[in-house]
């Protein structure tokens, strides 16, 4: 392969001859257009530019991009370019590149944002996101009203499918997590309680913790990662494919059709899963308790039954309903406000999970304070 050379020769009558030789291929060392560009900036300007490519070997994009740089500079300096000396293909490519003029104002100019500006921008963005969430809640409430009146359009088979996905199919993971959480509670509690001979109260600890708080929270977080993310991804993808728009044009409210049935499915399934999770947690605790304590199964069971009040149970189930609403809300809202690319679907899904978990933890704290004050 011959080395690519670009030489500039001052021609007669103030013209400028550019001689190209060697192989001009992308990826090999190419001489830049700088000598030509420098010459074009200097006065007196050449009257015209001409090329000589008799010694030119193979060429590809490497040559054409250099020619384009020269052409742009020549245009800016008002120098005429005579491209007759170029190979036909390269001449056509250069002509093609300049065939469509750059659209006015199309190019993006990036400027560095000032610190305060970016702080302001993110505050405004947060406000907008907050308003979007409120709007969404409002629309959901209106949709529930339509469901109660029986004027909403939805598919009953969809609701059943959502219930199956959010309920029955979540059984294995809820079992595993709650069982292990129960075991961990029993372990930690038992070692501390045995220090002053109150080992049997491990049963109380595990039962109360699971029923009042932990089962609902763990199920909620599992649902945020499992079902909330799925909702955001499903609705988000439908949004990208304009399926949501297709529903709207048919006169079907996408909230009624897509969102409310999903929220309903979680409201129904969350308490059931939580109840089941509590049971699994208590069993997990019992496995540890019975193997480390000198207690019979009957003793442990009686201790457990006496520890759990109906108030605690209903308190826990109420929390689970709240978490279910929040998780479904976060998932569906993020799906409905999803952008229109694969990337945006990913971002919405991430946000749905994060938002779901944050909302669960926030509401858990608030509800616990309320419960304590009400004496539940």
């Amino acid at each position: 392969m011959k080395k690519a050379v670009l030489s500039v020769i001052e021609g007669m009558q103030g013209s400028l001859d550019i001689s190209l030789s060697g192989d001009w291929l992308l990826g090999v060392e190419l001489p830049g257009p700088d000598p030509v560009l420098d010459r074009l900036r200097k006065s007196p300007k050449p009257t015209s530019l001409a090329f000589d490519s008799q010694m030119l070997g193979d060429w590809d994009t490497g040559l054409v991009k250099t020619l384009i740089a020269i052409n742009v500079s020549a245009g800016a300096n008002g120098v005429e370019v005579d491209d007759a000396g170029l190979p036909a293909g390269a001449r056509q490519l250069v002509a093609l590149a300049f065939a469509v003029e750059e659209r006015e104002g199309a190019r993006r100019i990036f400027k560095q944002k000032k610190f305060l500006e970016s702080v302001g921008d993110s505050v405004m963005a947060a406000l907008v996101a907050g308003r979007e969430l409120l709007t969404f809640v409002g629309e959901l409430v209106l949709s529930v009203k339509r469901f109660m009146r029986g004027t909403a359009t939805y598919q009953r088979s969809d609701v059943i499918q959502y219930i199956q996905e959010a309920g029955a199919e979540a059984f294995p993971i809820v079992s595993l997590i709650c069982f292990l959480i129960g075991m961990i509670f029993a372990f930690v509690g038992l070692i501390q309680l045995q220090l002053f001979g109150a080992g049997i109260y491990t049963a109380d600890l595990v039962a109360v913790a699971m029923v009042r708080e932990m089962s609902a929270i763990m199920t909620g977080i599992i649902m945020a990662g499992r079902t909330g993310a799925a909702y955001a991804a499903q609705i988000g993808t439908m949004k990208v494919n304009e399926e949501v728009d297709a529903l709207t044009t048919l006169g079907i409210n996408p909230i009624d059709y897509l969102v409310t049935p999903r929220v309903f499915a979680l409201i129904v399934m969350m308490p059931l899963l939580t109840l089941y999770g509590s049971l699994m947690g208590i069993i997990g605790g019992a496995v540890v308790g019975l193997s480390m304590l000198d207690a019979t199964v009957l003793q442990y069971a009686t201790q457990t039954v006496n520890a759990v009040h109906l108030n605690s149970l209903f308190g826990g189930l109420f929390k689970s309903v709240v978490y279910g609403i929040l998780v479904a809300l976060a998932g569906c809202q993020q799906g409905m406000t999803c952008g229109d690319s694969a990337l945006a679907v990913g971002q919405s899904t991430t946000k749905a999970v994060v938002m779901g978990i944050v909302l669960i933890v926030l509401s858990a704290s608030i509800l616990t304070v309320i419960y304590v004050n009400l004496g539940i």
């Binding site: 994009t61 384009i68 293909g89 590149a97 469509v100 990036f110 694969a342």
Partner: protein
Amino acid sequence: MADARPHIIAKDLTMAYGDFLIQKDLNFTINRGDVFIIMGGSGCGKSTLLKIMIGLKTPATGEVFYDGEPFWASSLSDREATKRKFGTLFQSGALWSSMTLAENISLALQQYTELGDAEIREVAAYKLMLVGLAGFEDYYPSEISGGMKKRAGLARAMALDPEILFFDEPSAGLDPISAKLLDDLILELRESLGTTVVIVTHELASIFAIGNNSVFLDTVTKTQLATGNPRELRDHHPNFEVRNFLQRGEAEDKAA
């Protein structure tokens, strides 16, 4: 450049999805610099044939030869090397939505060349100029129109100066004028770069405007009915189906 050997040869290709036969006994030759059209009715397996040619789907039997070298019988690394000579424009552009147009074009350059960032950016800008998208480097695919996406897809397909360009329905979803401009662009690029072009289409206007070689796939007999210059096939081919397709269903049945 002037290589008399055929560029691509398909030999006894049979394609199937599992037990479901799509097409059998496909034999055709594509010369260097041809604009080769793969045509046929909807669902006859045009796109599947393209997928086999670019290495996305394995043929049931048969072989595709590039420059005389078998494609599917060669080792994985040889096949990868052959694929690097291809540029493909997918039906709806298939631009990566998380990347700007410039980044879409740059990916192949970053992977397969030693160029620096500034140079890659320069090449990307030039490729976009070629397809009439000067100044759109920093746009995301979701911010431009369907026709622009197609052209940006073409710019990406040409990133590595491919020897063969594959197009899947380039004019689908474009208005007649944009479709015509895209056809012109394909022709101009072929003329100036000497690229071999393979196009899947059933757009008659494009077929006659740019094609100089073709294969006609039939849905009923599940094999090719004709190969050759589409204009000659339209006027002189003995088979009624072929003429009828190329004359928009208005051919006279000579046998009848």
